[in-house]
Amino acid sequence: MTDHASDPLFAEIKEEIEPFNAKGVEVTRETSFQKDLEWDSLTVMDFVAAIEDRFDIIITMNMQAEIETVGQLVDAVTKLRG
């Protein structure tokens, strides 16, 4: 596993999470979008749109279903950027 403090992509994604982090949860690779951040489906949609536009990628709903934690999102974005 990558040391997240030194992973620039993790830092970028964390930055995108902040505006939606209403509870001020400490974000690590293990943070779960649903369980820890407690996002509802509308928040997820807005967040995904922000990530898609920042990295110029598409995260389909099919892929979203497989992503539970911040770490899994970092890995998915890494893969999608090629």
């Binding site: 509802d40 598409i58 389909t60």
Partner: protein, 399 residues
């Protein structure tokens, strides 16, 4: 043992809390008598209907009723079979012919509901390596059509042309693409910028499906919907619609000019594996659709009602979903579910029925009182409605 129902506990709790305050359950109302498209008896009280999607008031049209009675006598109560086996009667053909004429399209396919039309067409035409792009405020039947198929699903922000364009550009050029839009979005009653969205979709090589459930009969020169109004009918590949709103009965359909469209009758499971509509239903639908082709006076009055209600509610201080009336749906935004339910009950006590809509069906977690106008509402009824809103709004402190 795990009780499979435990996942619903939070919802059961929320409902019980709401009802324990003495609030009447907004989701179990019974219409004891229906007197006309605009008046019913609820809890023994005569009530104006302002939440039925019965836009053109066809439910009590004498010609429509006569056609249904005749079909009932001539063809019986039901077909007891699938459209592809014993369930296609003369009336189903005539209904499809009426649709082809109404829209000026080559092919029409009638389903048992609009929900099934979306489910069937979307899940069948978009395969595993294809992409479906849809507005995030799409109707449940569109989402369920996506979930039933196995295409790659890409939602984009509501009515955001740039969000759609960016996503189309990110997709592989050679991939099959379907863009799904609605003419009128039923929660806020707002209209889609179809002109631009259809153009950029076609430029990206996508096929376009437009659900015109809430525009049929009164938007566009011939009442064909928002695509007609915005001049893009020729670029729309599929129009989905329903008989449960302007047409005034039940059923759904898809019309298309695609040369291979008829193959859908063989491969579309929600068309094949369910019984067809009863003869009386398709007879009423066909008659109603043909009458809608000549409904310009009713159309004009419906728009008049919509403008009057919108302006009146705004003047009373209510917050409305759209700045201007864009359709026959006027959505009044409530502060929260509790306030919305109180206002809903207060209106019902005044003798007015509106639709209470709440999350997750609504955008941005809003609670809405959705009003849908009917061409048969008189101008005096709209005045009465405004009086009821004023009294209920003041009594509940919403205005």
């Amino acid at each position: 043992m795990t009780d499979l129902f435990s996942k619903f506990d939070a919802l059961i709790q929320q409902r019980e809390t709401l009802l324990s305050t003495g609030q009447r359950d907004p989701f179990s109302l019974v219409m004891e008598e229906v007197k006309s498209p605009t008046v019913a008896v609820v809890n023994g009280k005569e009530t104006i209907l302002l939440g039925t999607y019965n836009y053109m008031g066809m439910t009590f049209d004498p010609d429509v009723i006569a056609a249904g009675k005749k079909a009932l006598d001539d063809f019986g109560t039901g077909t007891t079979g699938s459209r592809v086996l014993n369930g296609t009667y003369q009336g189903h053909r005539e209904c499809e012919d009426a649709l082809k004429e109404f829209y000026g399209f080559d092919h029409a396919m009638v389903f048992s509901t609009g929900y099934q039309a979306n489910l069937g067409i979307i899940s069948t035409i978009a395969g595993k390596d294809d992409y479906v792009l849809l507005d995030i405020d799409s109707h449940a039947s569109i989402y369920d059509g996506c979930a039933m198929g196995n295409a790659q699903i890409v939602p984009f922000r509501h009515n955001d042309i740039e969000a759609l364009e960016k996503r189309l550009k990110r997709l592989p050029e050679e991939a099959g693409k379907l863009v799904i839009l609605e003419g009128v979005y039923s929660m806020l009653g707002d209209v889609a910028p179809l002109k631009e969205m259809v153009r950029i979709s076609k430029e990206a090589g996508a096929m376009v499906l437009v659900d015109e459930a809430h525009s049929m009969g009164f938007i566009g020169e011939h009442g064909r919907g928002v695509a007609e109004e915005q001049g893009v009918m020729d670029d729309v590949d599929f129009i989905i619609g329903t008989f449960s709103k302007s047409v005034g009965t039940v059923g759904g359909f898809c019309v298309s000019n695609h040369p291979k469209f008829e193959v859908m009758r063989l491969v579309c499971r929600p068309y094949v594996f369910t019984a067809s509509l009863p003869p009386s239903v398709v007879a009423t639908a066909a008659t109603s659709i043909r009458k809608l082709m000549h409904g310009s006076e009713k159309r004009a009055h419906l728009w008049e009602n919509s403008r009057k209600l919108h302006a009146g509610l705004k003047a009373l201080g209510f917050t409305i979903g759209t700045d201007e009336p864009q359709s026959a749906i006027i959505a009044v935004i409530m502060p929260d579910l509790e306030g919305g339910a109180k206002m809903w009950e207060s209106l019902l006590n005044e003798g007015l029925y509106v639709n209470l809509a709440r999350p997750p069906a609504t955008p941005a977690n809003m609670t809405l009182l959705r009003c849908s106008l009917c061409a048969e509402h008189t101008s005096e009824q709209v005045d009465e409605i405004l009086g009821m809103f004023e009294r209920a709004g003041k009594a509940t402190g919403i205005i």
